[in-house]
Amino acid sequence: MMRATRTDIAARAIVGVVSAGLLIMAARVGQLQLSPSPRLVQHIQPRTSAVSLPPDRGPILDRRGRELATSRFGWQVFIDPTELPRDKKTGQIKDLDAIIGSLAEAMGVPADEFGEKLLLVIAENGRRAANAPVMPEDGPPSVREFVGGLLGFKREPETSTVLVSMDDEDDAAEQGGPIVEPYKNPIRYVRVSGVLEKEKVDKVRALNISGVHLEQRLVREYPGGAPVAAIIGRLGGQLDPQSGAERSHNELLTGERGRVSFVRDSTGRPIWMNPDSYEPATPGKSLRLSIDLELQRLATEELVRGVYENNAAGGRLVLMDSMTGEIVAMADVVRHVPEAVPFPWANADGSMDVPVSHGDRYITIFEDTMRAIDPALGRNRCVQDVYEPGSTFKPFVWAVVTQLGVIGLEEHLPTGNGQWRTPYGRTINDVKKFPSLAWQDVLLHSSNIGMTQGAMRISRDQLRNAVLSFGFGSKTDIGLPAETPGIVTSRKDWTQWTQTSVSFGQEIAVTPVQMARAFCIFARTGPLAGTLPTARLIAPEYPDRPELFRRVVDPRAAEEVRRILSAVAAQMEARMAENDKSESHWKYAIFGKSGTAQIPLGKAPKGKRRPPGNKGYFEKQFNSSFIAAGPTENPRLVCLVVIDDPGPELRPRLRHFGSHTAGPVVRRVLERSLTYLGVPPSPESSRVEAPAGPVAE
């Protein structure tokens, strides 16, 4: 059995060795599965692709829930030229003209608007196909298209878009699809329409042309329209917030992206989705503003009327709820003044190319290129631009002086028949000339001389701190981008001159919103009189800054101001009645103050300087404003109107003053707004007779 034994030994040896080898393989499998080498781990990639889902953006509402900005889904049409029906023999696209024609009809778009673009792309694709050695006749649908079909939207490879629409951020890297070499693969996306109406979408769908696709996009719409555009702002093409509340409350509105991932094969085609691989997007929260769309609309209407009637370059309006500090309307109108010319700045050496002419009307509101593109992108001059309040500032200084008890209401001050020299030698003039005035009549007749003397009785720090406590010189933080804090002279530079100027509202710059808020001090009644609210542009359900009251002046001083300003408003009303008999009776009594200040020149352009002898103002051009609250017996609303640069023809007739230009606008806005709010008409007892004499400024 010698040979048999040899075969057996060999067989046993071979089977033994092979078995041992197989066991090693089993161990190797275990090692690979349980602890693969770090180098191998680097090459283990998840075979999944993820698509991020854009969240719905929260709507912006007005205080009554009216929609000012909303998002919706819309469909737009795009064509994949490689999928268009082709003639089997020639390989050319069949009936292209017929396709373009029927599509144009269905979309209600002229055929040449997209036809030419489509033809160009088809030609380009032909060129690329000729260069490329292999062109897949009918390649697999890409991941993007599949997911687009599945979820109802598609990614857009081209970036050009006019629409404000929700686009996905480009995470093509995550796609893991086939790498597209430039200029080799055919163009497969030609957008041929914007977002279409539903009927048109249905028509396009009914055509059922292969290669013609609909893609869903989220579209931001602004039903609030032009009156609120500057407050709401807008989004850019990539849904980036660019201005207004859209920008300042972006985080609240945005929501969270969702995500869907799916297992894909090596060409990127989806195979399946795991049950936990879909995270829906979380829609953004809604933002309710304090704006009342109806009040905003009527305020804008009245402001526009005021600007045009006064041939003004612009106008600004803030309507504020005096109890809560909520801004219920805020308008900013700019009008093109054809005859206005640029101001002739002097050269660096002081020489003038063109002399300053008293006949010329200069441009006072500088060109806002962004506003020309879209009103929602323009400067919001109610928070971004300041003005000198002029006489409308006097009530604040008067209240401070009064509450400090340095002057009695009946104490008479010598006002020198309209001209008086300060101890440091500055000459002060009054429009209305009196030999002397009681302290309370200083405010009634808006005497600069009286205010100067009042302010001389208190220290500079006292006045300056009071000005700051009214909220001037600091931002209101109502939640609009690029707000300015205004200008209050620093403590170091606050001279006697400053003390005098500030007492009648010069050498201080404020924003309309700051001014309206400060005026709430006088509009609040009872124990709240003299307190300052926090200005808000959003409804009370967002308790970000709950401070509603901050005492600034004594209630009695505030009540006094209200009493005196009732007469000032009555004077203004009397003037209105003189002009137009139909505007002689008002349901609501109001109190208010006018102001007229020369418009500051602002900073000289680079390399230029102020003309010699100019004190830094457009000498014949004014910011005429009126600030009022009503109804007097229980004020609900504060209204400030600034008429920027009323027409020069008004000045010789002394019609450029705030009480002539801005006053009527305030009067009408308050009347209509209070009516709209259902406020009971004022009783006779709260009406005040206008004092005799000309209206003070």
Partner: protein
């Protein structure tokens, strides 16, 4: 009473069943639906509606048909009365060569070698030749479109038969250098060389198995050892001659140099194996088969098994192979006829080595080679011929009651492994 042959049969059947199921799983693909379906166009998985449909789809598939043919071939071969045919050989024993029948062995070797070389060469005949992946290993059967045959498979098993006959009939001469070893080795070199020209892996396998048969037949170790450098030189020459083989060897030592190029296949195979993470992704849930791992239904099917069935699946497959080998060894040892013993040894060596090389390649322990996992990797010719060879092995199992009783205890573990490895075996059996 379960006989050793039954164990071998069940092992083979289990491996084939697993093969059909896994080839079906690895062959899954996603078919895109026509884009004309409208705006919401996309791809959908065209899959079966129910479990029954899925089973029917697998059973009625091409691999299902091949498996039926393979089982048929195995059963037919197993029923051959080999014992009776070769009963005389037992008595003749050592005296075979002296009684003048050594000439038969030499003649058989010569004629057989020529025939086998001719068979392999058919892959080069224009009109028959069928090229896949730039290699000419297949011939297309005229008249049957789509049916291809791998002639080297025939040569692989044919050489074992020829060498077994040669070894048995020239038993005495085998100890002699010129008269025994050299003619045998020449035959091995001729057939192996021609195969290696098409397919180095199979060539090396054939040479190894052939050498094993010659050694078992009585060739002297030291004489054989003289030829090892020559064989090695041949292999090296073949590697150097073809740049892609050289690249494969280089890649084997560091696949991560070109992870998207030469190293891609090996890395993806290891990624697939690794993807099982112990428990496996579950049958049908593998990811690498979706275009990431090339040759996933054939040479790299084991990677998909590891990915989908985890360590349990991998160890099950390996266990079944080990049981099959040891059961086969028992049969070979009990067999008395030298020609059958040598043939059985050749079959076991071929199957064992082929499995070992395949697993080494799949798990990244060997350079990438086109070698199938016997009875599992998709391949009609391979399945049928391997099953037929195993059928012959089963047929050798002598019907000696005591021997069966003696062995029964030794392989008690066989059926257990069987259950693990082929859970889906029942419906397939019913289908055949």
């Amino acid at each position: 009473m379960i006989r050793t042959g039954h164990v071998v049969f069940l092992c083979a059947l289990g491996l084939l069943t697993l093969g059909v199921v896994m080839v079906g799983s690895a062959g899954m693909e996603v078919k895109p639906v026509s884009p004309a379906a409208g705006a919401a166009s996309g791809a959908r998985v065209a899959g079966p509606g129910s479990v029954g449909e899925a089973v029917a789809q697998v059973v009625l598939s091409k691999p299902g048909l091949y498996m039926a043919l393979a089982v048929l071939a195995m059963c037919s071969m197993a029923m051959l009365p080999l014992d009776r045919w070769f009963a005389g050989m037992r008595a003749v024993g050592v005296g075979g060569a002296r009684s003048g029948r050594g000439g038969i062995g030499l003649a058989a070797l010569g004629v057989g070698t020529l025939v086998l070389v001719g068979i392999v060469a058919t892959a080069y005949v224009p009109g028959l030749s069928h090229t896949v992946n730039n290699s000419r290993r297949w011939i297309a059967v005229p008249g049957l479109s789509g049916l291809t045959i791998q002639p080297s498979e025939f040569a692989k098993w044919g050489l074992i038969v020829v060498l077994a006959v040669y070894g048995a009939w020239r038993a005495v001469a085998m100890r002699k250098f010129w008269k025994g070893l050299v003619p045998g080795l020449l035959a091995v070199a001729a057939v192996g060389g021609v195969i290696a020209h098409q397919d180095l892996g199979t060539g090396v396998l054939v040479v190894c198995a052939g050498s094993a048969v010659l050694l078992a037949a009585g060739a002297r170790w030291w004489q054989f050892a003289l030829f090892i450098p020559a064989m090695a030189a041949g292999v090296v020459a073949l590697i150097v001659a073809n740049p892609y083989r050289l690249t494969r060897i280089e890649t084997f030592f560091d696949p991560y140099v070109q992870p998207r190029g030469a190293g891609y296949h090996m890395i993806q195979s290891m990624v697939a194996v690794s993807g099982g993470e112990g428990t496996g992704r579950g049958l049908g849930f593998g990811l690498q088969k979706y275009g990431y791992l090339p040759e996933d239904t054939t040479d790299f099917l084991f990677a998909i098994i590891c990915e989908e069935l985890g360590i349990v699946g991998a160890v099950g497959v390996i266990g079944v192979f080990i049981v099959l080998l040891w059961s086969g060894l028992t049969i070979v040892r009990r067999q008395q006829a030298p020609v059958l013993k040598l043939f059985g040894l050749g079959v076991l060596t071929t199957i064992g080595l082929q499995a070992l090389i395949n697993l080494a390649v799949v798990t990244g322990l060997g350079p990438t080679k086109g070698i199938a996992l016997p009875l599992v990797s998709s391949g009609g010719t391979g399945w049928i011929l391997t099953a037929a060879s195993i059928g012959l092995l089963i047929a050798m199992d002598p019907e000696v009651e005591e021997a069966a009783a003696e062995e029964a205890g030794e392989h008690g573990g066989g059926p257990l492994v069987e259950v693990e490895a082929a859970p889906a075996g029942a419906p397939v059996l019913a289908g055949t």
